[in-house]
């Protein structure tokens, strides 16, 4: 089945990622490529403020102030939960991962050297926590009597424009490599920039761009398969 045939009923607009991304981590955004000097200055000022706030948050956490952790939760909690649920497949595990992330932040914040932004470091901890939890679940799955839920499956969602395609993508994500899935979720779902993803996953920007391309190319191939086709393990990109 051709993808175009599948795509037509979903009324897709030609909106390739050509504009600067609206979302992103405060403190590590790249300066907007604007023609106006005033806009550049305002952007630079905003970035400086965001970096200062990020640094203050890190200091607060380093000193063990609960209010700093609460502020961190208010600022990033929703995004952390969203990323975690897409990585782990259910809200319960996602909330556990977010909690574990906060505990790990407290345990390791003394070692945070500020080489990346504090926010990037927090998301890196979350991604690693999700990977650890997933590995533990896989090990438990090997023991009889327990079954692993597929990631990002059975999560109730508000009605959206393309629920069929979304579900297909969610199902297909499990067949991507770990790095491709992480980059896809961070870039396409959560709206991080490649520079931010590079910091979170400890890879280069070029590697992030390449992983995203490979992920979308693989998904593109998977989406041309009939819906009934069962997953057959990771595929290699042609």
């Amino acid at each position: 089945m051709e993808f175009a045939a599948l795509a037509l009923p979903w009324k897709i607009t030609m909106a390739v990622q050509s504009a600067p991304r609206e979302q992103g981590l405060p403190g590590i955004d790249e300066p907007a490529n604007s023609a106006s000097d005033a806009r550049d200055a305002a952007e630079a000022h905003r970035l400086a403020e965001a970096r200062a706030a990020d640094s203050a948050l890190a200091d607060g956490c380093r000193h063990g102030y609960i209010t700093a952790y609460e502020h961190l939760y208010q600022k990033h909690g929703a995004k952390l939960k969203s990323l975690a649920v897409n990585l782990l497949g259910n809200r319960h595990d996602a909330e556990d991962a977010v909690q574990e992330t906060f505990l790990k932040i407290h345990r390791s914040v003394a070692n945070f050297k500020g080489e990346s932004s504090f926010s990037t470091w927090v998301y890196r901890i979350l991604v690693n926590s999700c990977h650890d939890m997933r590995r533990k679940k896989l090990r438990r799955q090997e023991s009889p009597g327990e079954e692993l839920e597929p990631a990002a499956a059975h999560e109730p969602q508000a009605p959206k424009a393309n629920p069929g395609l979304r579900l297909t993508i969610e199902r297909s994500l499990t067949r991507l490599s770990l790095q491709q899935r992480d980059v896809f979720l961070l870039f396409e779902v959560e709206g991080f920039r490649h520079s931010e993803i590079a910091g979170i996953l400890a890879i280069s920007e070029a590697a992030s761009k390449n992983a995203l391309f490979q992920a979308k190319k693989n998904l593109r191939l998977m989406l041309t398969e009939p819906y009934s086709a069962p997953p057959t393990g990771p595929r290699t990109c042609p």
């Binding site: 390739v16 050509s18 709206g191």
Partner: protein, 215 residues
């Protein structure tokens, strides 16, 4: 910017805004590229719908409680670590070694309390030895005094030049004895001075005996 179909994958991978815009322009006249871009965009659009949001009012209180517990445990751990640092095996070893040194020192002091520390400086006399020497010396002087009493008539009226020389010798010996005794007054425990004094007394005794024997 002119874009061809074979550039499509590279442009999609590099995601440079200008090149993507050029690819979109190219896709308006290329069915294959339009199909690919449509699929690409569809994936991106569907992915944005995967962002999930839900209320979890119990999550922050749970995290806060866990954090507080962990902070408490960290503090307790630090305190326990400090206690262990001061009561660890090597600190115990140091304490045992210190006690051993202390015990040995006290035992040595107790055991050696009665000993005379002569070996520390053989030239110095202890009080008890000094008393004994002075007592012997006094007895020796008394005996020499008796001998001098017997020899005095001969010395006062020397019958021969030899006795006269003995008298001169005794004057020198007495002067030496007086000087040594003066020095000993300054340093009672000086063994060397005591030995010299004893030698002078012996010389005086032998000289007096020689005077008494002289016919």
């Amino acid at each position: 910017m002119i874009v061809e179909c074979q550039n499509r994958n590279r442009i999609l991978r590099d995601a440079e805004p200008l090149e993507l815009a050029a690819l979109e322009t190219h896709a308006s006249t290329c069915v294959a590229c339009a199909r690919e871009l449509t699929a690409w965009s569809a994936i991106s659009a569907a992915a944005r719908e995967m962002q999930k949001s839900w209320e979890s009012p119990a999550l922050w209180p749970r995290i806060e409680k866990a954090l507080a517990q962990q902070m408490n445990e960290s503090r307790h751990f630090a305190r326990r670590w400090r206690l262990r640092f001061f009561a660890g095996p090597w600190q115990m070893a140091i304490a045992v070694a210190f006690l051993a040194v202390l015990t040995t020192s006290v035992a040595w002091l107790v055991l050696h309390r009665g000993e005379t520390p002569i070996q520390q400086d053989s030239r110095l006399l202890t009080d008890s030895a000094l008393h004994e020497v002075e007592r012997t010396e006094a007895a020796y002087m008394k005996a020499i005094g008796k001998l001098a009493g017997q020899a005095r008539p001969r010395l006062e009226n020397p019958a021969s030049p030899l006795v006269a020389s003995y008298r001169e010798k005794l004057v020198v010996i007495d002067a030496a004895i007086t000087e040594l005794r003066a020095n000993i007054e300054q340093n009672h425990s000086n063994t060397h001075l005591r030995l010299e004094l004893a030698a002078m007394y012996r010389e005086k005794k032998e000289t007096l005996e020689a005077v008494v024997r002289e016919e």
